[in-house]
Subunit: 281 residues, 4 copies
């Protein structure tokens, strides 16, 4: 973590020492615990705010605590930035960028009239619990790593969605404007059909009188959609199992090398006996 070489080139010894002190502070488990506690207080605060009675009565208190929290988080980020000098290396970690944006946006919108945006931002600070706890960080990273392997099948699913959306709007736009009125209405409807929520009871059946063939459209989409989603899920399972299998199998290559070593020794044996036999002649 400590890069003496880099530091001595541009900073004097004093600054380097300060950096080391900050690193010790930031790396201390107590530091993480305090930040986690602040995140928890922030979480409880945004939760309490949703109750109008509490919000109206304790408004000044809540506002003050919130400002204190924002500055505490800012201080934390600044400390961690100093600890990982040069500043650029701080931004190399995606999680740090995430933390920075969450906190910086809190300052940006302060005093603005977009109160809802500000409040949503404060809620999003709860997400920092993930970036602070290494275990959660690892899980989210693992989840994100499964995404690329799903890209192709997700693209396939979106082609299916688009084709059925255009066809659905064309065929049922006038029959059922609530569900198939425009292209974006239909896309939302298809999302609902894919989750199987009232696809038949609420949507298809009322349409059967005026569009008796609508069942073909719905059944086809349910079957194709479920089939692709099923394969998407299976893809994730297979990827996960493969990774788990690879981690659990370190012995086989070792055995191969053992075998090769054995064969080499038998080769030496043969050479020794050949020599012995030739000498005996």
């Amino acid at each position: 973590m400590v890069r003496f070489g880099v530091a001595s080139d541009e900073n004097d010894l004093e600054e380097e020492l300060r950096k080391l002190k900050v690193q010790a502070l930031v790396g201390h488990p107590r530091f993480t615990q305090v930040v986690m506690a602040l995140i928890l207080i922030n979480a409880v605060l945004v939760g309490l705010e949703t109750y109008p009675y509490i919000y109206d009565t304790y408004f000044p208190w809540i506002q003050w605590t919130d400002r204190l929290l924002l500055w505490a988080f800012t201080l934390e980020i600044v400390l961690r930035m100093i600890a990982s000098r040069p500043t650029l290396s701080f931004f190399k970690d995606g999680w740090n960028v995430f933390d920075f944006i969450i906190v910086a946006s809190g300052h940006l919108f302060v005093g603005s009239s977009f109160i809802t945006v500000l409040r949503v931002l404060r809620v999003l600070r709860v997400l920092r619990a993930i970036s602070i706890l290494p275990a959660l960080r690892r899980i989210v990273t693992a989840l994100l790593l499964t995404l690329p392997s799903l890209a192709h099948i997700a693209f396939l699913l979106s082609i299916l969605f688009y084709i059925f959306a255009v066809t659905g709007t064309m065929l049922f736009g006038e029959v059922s404007p609530e569900y198939f009125g425009t292209l974006h209405h239909t896309l939302l409807t298809l999302m609902q059909v894919l989750t199987l929520d009232s696809w038949a009871s609420g949507m298809m059946r009322p349409m059967l009188d005026s569009a008796p063939w609508a069942w073909i459209y719905f059944t086809l989409f349910v079957l194709l959609g479920s089939f692709i989603v099923m394969n998407l899920i299976i893809g994730v399972i297979v990827t996960n199992l493969d990774r788990a299998n690879e981690e659990g199998k370190p012995e086989t290559p070792d055995q191969g090398s053992e075998l090769r070593a054995l064969r080499a020794e038998v080769g030496e044996l043969k050479a020794m006996i050949r020599e012995l036999s030739e000498r005996g002649k």
Copy 2:
């Protein structure tokens, strides 16, 4: 099971003998069968009680049988406690603690006015079928063992729930007070959305008129929620498969040792030939 050493220190031989007799009684298969039968009678009884006609007509009978059952269970627990003297060791098994609490609470609340609590407790005695049958005990233990591996992803899910709950209450609290009125209402609503029950037909669509952007909130939660739940399930599958695989693979390490032995023998061979060759010089 018999600990002579411990016993001889504190009890006389007579008491030790009594303990052995009780152990023989408790360990007998017939003992388990009788207890299982009592649990079954208890189950039928609490079932019959739910029919008001039967409850009103046979009330004294039911009450008497119930008291008899409670004392029979108490006797069983006491016998099993004696069999596993010292008493403390009895409470080391979580299942025994469970049995004890179920039966003891029956005595605690007897005659109290919390009739509903008492009846629920009597229903819970049916759960003793699990602690009595070893096969079920093993399955429940296995199920409980998968829980820790799910802890992290469950925590992630609860962060997601909390953030969407606060945001939902903020954004839709006035639009749809039935679903998003307060923080706890929203949490229940999100639970319903996660099970995909009427998330679109019953909740989102009626809100689209007054909050046209609500679909982003719902779709995002459905996608993120399903994705995390899916990974939670896959986690359990992978854990289970790994355990199943490990149990089914006892041969590989054996093969490795076989290989090592073979190599040692070839090494001896080489030494023998070297000796032979040196002698021949």
Copy 3:
């Protein structure tokens, strides 16, 4: 298939010859094709009968065809019985017993007034397509074989169902008699909750006014129920994967024996060299 020994003990040669002829007939692929065709005709017939217009107009035709089919099936069963003499061995295969019951019951109820029973029996003859086609037979046998491994967890699920059914009837019997009126109503309700059909929108929410704590009951059951069902499904997956893995791994034991043979040969080598070395002294 041909058991000369058994036959010559009790039957004369002529009868044995007849049996062989019947076996050749029954084993012929064309025989299976004809039976399959009859099952198909039967299937189309019971399908057409459901349309009242066709039923009323062609009633005599349908009845005649049906009688013909019943006798054809009877003839088939009798032939297969003769082919697998002694008759008892015919009933050793569960599928044969199944075929026999399906056909025999058709004769039993003929002319009876239980028209619905008779018609349902005729529909069930379609199931014979499974017993006739070996591929389907194998799949159904495989499905049935997964059942025993699920027995324990299914028992656990039924304990959960029973406890929640009794508790539900006790707590909500008066609040929502439609869903929790009696024990069997509640069991059906729980089945519906387990499939997540309108568990919140249709059942829990209307009850929240009069029983504000109902959400605990529902959420708990949804969580526990889904967890057990999930493990039930995972159990089937693991069982299936294990079976698939075992079928795909015939090589490892062979390798072990190869290794043992190699070691034996190296042992012989050592003995030979020792002898050589002793001779050299």
Copy 4:
């Protein structure tokens, strides 16, 4: 790709040269990119058409662009046909046939009065994105390859559907004509029950008054249907995992051959020592 032998037999050198040029053109990555762009433009166009305002205002523009696109696609197909002379070999690839049909049908229905058919065909051109992108092509091929392994269990499912459809129409045809009026109504109803959409809340419960035993029919179908569908899904998972496992295990046979080679060498050793020992006598 270039078959000189075949070409020199029937064409002169000039034509062969032209074919080579076309192949270079068709094989160029820029060619695929242009076609992909045309498909995208086509997709946006059919999307915009669904908005009546845009359709009415820009109708001539849309029509012209559409005709241009059709001819562009035709040119593409013709070029690819020339590149893969003889023409018959072009049609050996299923994806080429698919492309040909999609484009050819556009010409067939041009100017016809079946405007809806024409528009649906134009939507289907979006599917060409699959045949153009090799990654998607591979995924769809993989998905199609899992289908045969599901054939048997799908047949089993359809037998279940048919039996329950006939029985349902017979039993509930008069009680609930909306859901069980005719055989095809019942089949659609069963499809809905299988997706668990309002199977209890919308269908079974309203029927319980007039057909109190309907719950047996529904519960049985839900259980059997889910069980078979679950096994269908598990079948796909097992097939996929098997394939993934086979791809990831190239080492084991290599180890076996290594072992055999080792044994052969030990055999040679033994022969050498025997010779040595015999000479020493």
